[in-house]
Amino acid sequence: MPFQIVLNLIIAVMWMFLSESYSFASFFAGYIIGIFLLFLLRRFIPDAFYMKRLTKIISLILLFMKELILSNLEIVKLVYRRNPDIKPGIFALPTELKSNWEITLLANLITLTPGTLTVAVSDDNTVLYIHAMDIDDIDEAIRSIKDTFEKAIMEVTR
């Protein structure tokens, strides 16, 4: 992936020099052309085409935005209810993610999703302790975190 990005940057700079206009617009045009060339030559360049990973990163960001807005609506609903019937508690979530980077990302995503807040990470990085607004539906919460976030993160990092 780094090799392909460097190649793409070289093509963009080359395009800038060839068209003799040193502006961001021509650099951008060159970059688009570089993406196109890399796409054509994808079978002769080592590693998978890096745009594929980029689309996955973008879809992760979109998922994040969606969850953020949903969780905000949830919290606002709770704030303005007359008697918020909440039953908070802390539950454990075993995770398959390994590296620090992945776990940080997962913890951040969990904190910004409806009704959950990461309190702590166990010392061996295998369990996340999560404070939930409603402890009764934790099974559903665990399943949704496992299905959506862990999968999305794994697709980006592996």
Partner: protein
């Protein structure tokens, strides 16, 4: 004043109003919720979207009115999204380590159990 200007103004006003509304809800939530963890729920989530909404509104305003693409505002949103959950996590962890119990009677607390096991 053309129709495009009016439409742009309406969009900017929409973003600013939703941002303000979410920040206002955050402060109400801070006052109403029972303990530190539930309050952190309110402050980490709603404040993030509130500030993001106001920043997007001012970004659109600067672009429509003065033709400035202000990268600072977009960076502000990105850093807000990165730092708010981390600070919420650190505050709640510090609270738990200094012995704050979650609100409610017979509350389920897996982290407390693990800590007790370790100290024995």
């Amino acid at each position: 004043m053309t129709w495009i200007n009016i439409g742009m103004n309406i969009i900017v006003i929409f973003f600013l109003l939703t941002g303000t509304f979410f920040i206002f809800s955050t402060s109400i939530g801070l006052l109403r919720f029972p303990d530190i963890y539930t309050r952190l729920h309110a402050s980490t989530k709603a404040a993030t979207l509130g500030v993001a909404g106001i920043l997007i509104g001012s970004f659109l305003f600067l672009y429509a009115e003065h033709g400035i693409v202000s990268g600072k505002l977009l960076l502000g949103i990105a850093f807000m999204l990165l730092t708010a959950p981390v600070s919420g996590h650190m505050i709640s962890r510090a609270a738990h380590n200094s012995g704050v119990k979650p609100w409610g009677d017979k509350v389920e607390d897996e982290y407390e159990k693990v800590k007790n096991l370790k100290s024995e």
